[in-house]
Symmetry: D3
Subunit: 340 residues, 6 copies
Amino acid sequence: MAKIVTLGEIMLRLSTRANTRILQTDDFYATYGGGEANVAVSLSNYGHEAYFVSKVPTHEVGQAAINSLRRYGVHTEFVSRGGDRLGIYYLETGASCRPSKVIYDRSHSSFSEATPQDFNFAEIFQGATWFHWSGITPALSDETAACLREALKVARQMGVTVSCDLNYRSKLWSPEKAQSVMRPLMEYVDVCIGNEEDAQMCLGFKPDADVQAGQTDADGYKNIFCQMQKEFGFRYVVSTLRESYSATRNGWKAMIFDGEQFCKSRCYDLNPIIDRVGAGDSFAAGIIHGIISGMSLPDTLEFAVSASALKHTIHGDVNLCSVEEVMALAKGNGNGRVVR
Amino acid sequence: MAKIVTLGEIMLRLSTRANTRILQTDDFYATYGGGEANVAVSLSNYGHEAYFVSKVPTHEVGQAAINSLRRYGVHTEFVSRGGDRLGIYYLETGASCRPSKVIYDRSHSSFSEATPQDFNFAEIFQGATWFHWSGITPALSDETAACLREALKVARQMGVTVSCDLNYRSKLWSPEKAQSVMRPLMEYVDVCIGNEEDAQMCLGFKPDADVQAGQTDADGYKNIFCQMQKEFGFRYVVSTLRESYSATRNGWKAMIFDGEQFCKSRCYDLNPIIDRVGAGDSFAAGIIHGIISGMSLPDTLEFAVSASALKHTIHGDVNLCSVEEVMALAKGNGNGRVVR
Amino acid sequence: MAKIVTLGEIMLRLSTRANTRILQTDDFYATYGGGEANVAVSLSNYGHEAYFVSKVPTHEVGQAAINSLRRYGVHTEFVSRGGDRLGIYYLETGASCRPSKVIYDRSHSSFSEATPQDFNFAEIFQGATWFHWSGITPALSDETAACLREALKVARQMGVTVSCDLNYRSKLWSPEKAQSVMRPLMEYVDVCIGNEEDAQMCLGFKPDADVQAGQTDADGYKNIFCQMQKEFGFRYVVSTLRESYSATRNGWKAMIFDGEQFCKSRCYDLNPIIDRVGAGDSFAAGIIHGIISGMSLPDTLEFAVSASALKHTIHGDVNLCSVEEVMALAKGNGNGRVVR
Amino acid sequence: MAKIVTLGEIMLRLSTRANTRILQTDDFYATYGGGEANVAVSLSNYGHEAYFVSKVPTHEVGQAAINSLRRYGVHTEFVSRGGDRLGIYYLETGASCRPSKVIYDRSHSSFSEATPQDFNFAEIFQGATWFHWSGITPALSDETAACLREALKVARQMGVTVSCDLNYRSKLWSPEKAQSVMRPLMEYVDVCIGNEEDAQMCLGFKPDADVQAGQTDADGYKNIFCQMQKEFGFRYVVSTLRESYSATRNGWKAMIFDGEQFCKSRCYDLNPIIDRVGAGDSFAAGIIHGIISGMSLPDTLEFAVSASALKHTIHGDVNLCSVEEVMALAKGNGNGRVVR
Amino acid sequence: MAKIVTLGEIMLRLSTRANTRILQTDDFYATYGGGEANVAVSLSNYGHEAYFVSKVPTHEVGQAAINSLRRYGVHTEFVSRGGDRLGIYYLETGASCRPSKVIYDRSHSSFSEATPQDFNFAEIFQGATWFHWSGITPALSDETAACLREALKVARQMGVTVSCDLNYRSKLWSPEKAQSVMRPLMEYVDVCIGNEEDAQMCLGFKPDADVQAGQTDADGYKNIFCQMQKEFGFRYVVSTLRESYSATRNGWKAMIFDGEQFCKSRCYDLNPIIDRVGAGDSFAAGIIHGIISGMSLPDTLEFAVSASALKHTIHGDVNLCSVEEVMALAKGNGNGRVVR
Amino acid sequence: MAKIVTLGEIMLRLSTRANTRILQTDDFYATYGGGEANVAVSLSNYGHEAYFVSKVPTHEVGQAAINSLRRYGVHTEFVSRGGDRLGIYYLETGASCRPSKVIYDRSHSSFSEATPQDFNFAEIFQGATWFHWSGITPALSDETAACLREALKVARQMGVTVSCDLNYRSKLWSPEKAQSVMRPLMEYVDVCIGNEEDAQMCLGFKPDADVQAGQTDADGYKNIFCQMQKEFGFRYVVSTLRESYSATRNGWKAMIFDGEQFCKSRCYDLNPIIDRVGAGDSFAAGIIHGIISGMSLPDTLEFAVSASALKHTIHGDVNLCSVEEVMALAKGNGNGRVVR
């Protein structure tokens, strides 16, 4: 299998259990996650040699973050140690008409203050096939944007394929700032992943459909995919499409465009949703796996959307599914009969 | 914001977790609640100075009940201490076709044996805007009915607005006894809240619609509201309407009548229900907040029904929601997108 | 009430909680169950004198298995002690599009190595009305098949009615082996219970309907029931019919045939399913109770399907419901209103 | 083994976990216990046919109390059903210099309002060898005292040996009331168990030693044992002796007198104490087992004190130990090496 | 009782349960605490009107910190809202030879960035008797030192008594910085509390005894107390003295000096220690309560040391004890007999 | 650091929490461990490249065992997959006078049925410095003994140092069988670790001291060490010495002999013991680390005994301690002051 590198932040996630509210809990379920770390775990579960690159404090909480990745086979020898703190986010899982709530406490984290000196990218990319990053990494700080730029340059030199999940975060930067940073980075990107909001905020593309208002006709996206592909030369443009009915029930599908073919996936009726955080990351990992494995365009898309449908049923940021399980759903009828 | 007083019993609630049955648990989740206490917590969460008046034992379990209210900002200095025990109720939360089950163990509680000497209502109502009580309070014992009568007289003298949630409990009294006690008390009531069963059992009004049989057309209630308003001179008559599909899924809406205008609310499809105990109390608190805040009649109703829709998603008797959260649901589309 | 005997294996069940995956848990919820043990618990809950016959190790885990049955009133004095281990199964409960997963670790269990010398069936069946077993018992080993044959002979001699739940398990034997063992045992059976897969694998009958493909028209089963009744002389042929929409939502109904009358039950929409393991056993117990109690054919069927609908809402293998609760659902509308 | 009957109250025990205080917990560990019930469980664990006689409510909490006894093999068919409530006690386990705290909420329980009509003692004592009761039973109410008197008369007529654990409870009655009730009942008692406080409060005997002040020389008790034996004709007088160093560490020993021989046991240094509630009951059960089994006087005493030393290490009211485990401690050196 | 004000930081404390290590937990027990907040809770438990002054974020975690104080009766209306984050500390409780470990993550907290504009001290001290602060407050930042200076000036003007717990924290500042800030603040202090390390690091006084090396003779402290009293004019100088035998067992005593009388307390053998965090704060609160209540010097000291001995047995930062419980230990023998 | 290989079985450990008994739990704490796996984790924690070699089933429970090792950095690429089951052991942790209890359910495990074909030892030992095994591995089956023999031969050829922890298990083999297998394997061993019982049962050496009887004078062991060293040519002979006072309190020390120097370690008073399983393994790992790191003989011994003293305070089989933590205890006074 392939060597794949991801670069980003890993945070301590403190979530309440069983739909309790932060105001009533005296118990936080502690897991660790972050966009690029989540992608690395999925890819390791699919049998790849996944390497996560980041920076965490030397203390035990930093070590616990590393251990959470090693547990699932991710290689962590390029995680730099030092800095002040591990970023945190609090998660309160909603239900029915009550939305989930995320409170970020990630400022001043070790990774957000990392500099290019923390990483030897020539060594890191030795033998690598793929590099994945998300828009969160350059949004964290000018320093992390510099690290990313350095990584992209080295990756380009070493012939590594690059995927980017745009992943716009309004708490981290404004659309103006995002576009000024992200648009120049697109020249390094082969596979661009992002939903309609991401494309608009990070790249300045406005989708025709109005998703907030519930219009989620996949075909409305074909046009914008073409424009994106034309402007930046992406080999693949990919997007998920979420239909929110309640905090517990969503529709979930996706689209991919390779410059020629535009595919729409099957739509999953996710009910109940156990944990939707990290669904986008599990989708990105599915796309990467499909492409690396030489799947057809529709098969790649179905693999990715099925992988991320399963993610909605799993606690924590990371998608604990094997290729076999994803395939069983992608090829099957999803009727949920017990596997004995 | 306003000073609001509520009078009633607070109980220890022992509930099983995660849909386990009483017969299989060795662990009870302990919270504290009761109709009027629940209303006080909601109102405190909305920024009011809420005072809960009751009587609890001097021991630690009584203190824990008080602490559960202080935690959410309710003033408890008028809770009398003494008597033998804190009332208890056991709750087993159902699922799907299995209904939830409540076992009461509330006889001989400190509050049920309280007398008017336990409370100085002139001091309690000093500066108060509103007094709320439910039909449970006079149902507990002749002593608590006497306390309530005394409170109502003083409230009337001091110009305090009075709301009553009829809240019929067949385990506590018969319809005959209920009507003989409740009907005379209605002269003190400005805002009367109750569903169809309450109106029939406590006041002797029979709704046209047959709710048990699933007929829940809101319009069928207009006539009875008029009659109630005419007989007792209520400023507002209010009712919720629950459509039970299963222990996990309900429809939920409400109606209000101010003598002139009859409003029906939007209907919420609650699925899954996390905990429906206290939904009526959270509704009553929403009505009180709407009226005190000078909202329009429809806005008051939508605020209240949205507040109580949210309550169905929250563990415990009390509704841990802010005005902002209730508003976001009342004004929004309830699609449950993550709040970051 | 009646004395009823069941013979089979009881296992330690190690299940993850709250939809967590085995890969992420450090906590197993430990209960004990097995087809025939589950039937015994249901029947004890209905007021019968239920006796479970098996063999478990002398150590504390074996004792805990016995205690789990005594707790619900099952008589365990005929459980033999000895052998090496208690069989185990791991259960990971799915959700939505992710199916539940069962991992068996039951080889070399004490019961699977039991021999007829471990049981004195003449003493065991003294005064008994009914004997129930499932296809799992003879599938475990040639030794358990021998025990069962001995039990059936003695039961026949002593005039005990016999019910069998075919319960095919592909991990335990092939269809060929199953049919070679099961078909000869059918001569002892009065009541044959099994779904379409069981009938095919254990007895060689192929249903007309294609259940995997979602065709679950009850009428399609009438023909096969007639054939089964004709060939083996069963007094009753009974089957459940599960429509799987997802791991969380199923349809559930059943059919019975007494040689003359063919009845179809109401269909339950089970959503959410808390725990579907043991649903078939709770159905079998319902059929046995209905017949012993002299209910009519349709009432027997409705009792059994209602009992097993309730089982889907209860954690663990065993169905913790009283006759009153089952009746309330069978006679009611299943709207899930709180029982106070 | 022998048929042994005990009569008394069983309560729901709500205890905090891991030394948390009632004021900070939202979780109660629920077990069931009571003096005579605890004795029955110990005796069942030792292989006897133990019958517990009591009255509990018909609801699920009453049933759960019964199930807690059946689980350990105690026969419960003579437990009457009805009445209002199951008595409760709250337990907060101390540590170091902080004492454990018990809050009783047992008034108006079903058993405390039971009458002789609830029990058919002639049937209950059929074939019984032994009857055990404690001073709590007659202290609960005049009704329970009447039940006990009836039981003792029938037991006497049927030649059943009677043991009594004096068990004085200052929350239930005064020394005067206790003596007026208990002294006449002593004529029925063969084996009298109680510590120095019990003997003083229930029977009016003042020990020479001052235990509160830490004087716990066993020999000081010989004189009082003689007097008790002389006055009431007891076959055995037995007492435990606790030296309290802290909530976590106690010394524990016992004495027995059969009218001729006076034996003192080995002293156990209990550190840490996991749960000391029910230690006296486990001791009483040990004495009963020793006598019934025909052990020598010293062996009986060592068995009982060793059994109750083990109880201090076990959560809950009941002593989950086998004869083999008690013997291993009584005969061994208590060095705590792992048993593999 | 008195109105007492404390000023400082409150943090979220994330601790592992039951001696697990951070590296192995997926569950943090969440409580809230901080030196001055802990003092406020103790004083509220003793019946005083305690006001905690601080600044926390507007989000739910900030609100939860406030609620944790309101629960125990502390007034929080002067807690300013805003800023970025709530400080956090991770706690891993040791055992035996393994020490407890604290990891701080408190930089950039809302309180550490608070300014005098956040607080109206003239309003805050209206009617107040006492003001308590610790050396942590000025150590957090120059801004908090400025807030404290402002508070001290206003307190002085309004005749409020001031106590200070020196509480040196090497992670927050150097001895040089500490002394340059703390020494000038001593002019406002009436009651100075601190152990030997605090006196040395914050004020530059070197104790004669070598505590790390285990020399903890209380008399060795008399001389240094005299010097401190002379230099700064303290009304009382107070210190605790901890003898560490292991993470589980400590000796604990204290000394007080009022310029004339030098008292030593009884020494408590704390074994096991449940949670020693906040022991110093519970001691300070005991001293304040003793002085305000007009206890004698020795009684004040014994009250305080007994209160803090109890704290070692209670989970969390705050001391959940009543005056009665503290008195029972101070006056009693600490033998830990069950309180029924 | 060094590459170190260990070969053995890893089991699922199901332990009760907080001193509960197996008979009363419905919850097992699931961890994974085994002698050689535990050594590998310790060595990885010390910075070495530790490789664990074994065989586990392909299902999720087998994967979870692997993940438990990867989490702490152990390399698992040489773990073969297949076979029927993962071995299990149940652990009930004792307290005070109640001993801990282990129930093994390890027969027929994947590893016990592994054959030399499952492992390519030439590849495994490539670049390795050290190979560690315990007496459990050859005791499991003739097949595992064959695997071990093959490993030892290859290790010898490749110049790898070999350590053996004798680890006699009476449940697995008799002393006769043990000696017939173990003695010939000693020719490959450089470092022999084992307590007095191991030396006697596995090698036939009878210690002079009688440990069961409490005679644990270290000097009594010098003679036997000399004999062992002489007969088998060990470079080091090492032993721990446990003094059992209770299940909660032990003394713990060790001895080492290098053919010339005989060293005794400091003795640790372990109180309370949190979890003593794996203490011997943590000791062995300490010895290996000391020797590889070039520590002096006494420093090696103190490092190992300090590491294993810490293990007694940590839940689970594996020792989660860093070199720094072990050093801090070995060099310090163990007084347990909080590390901030």
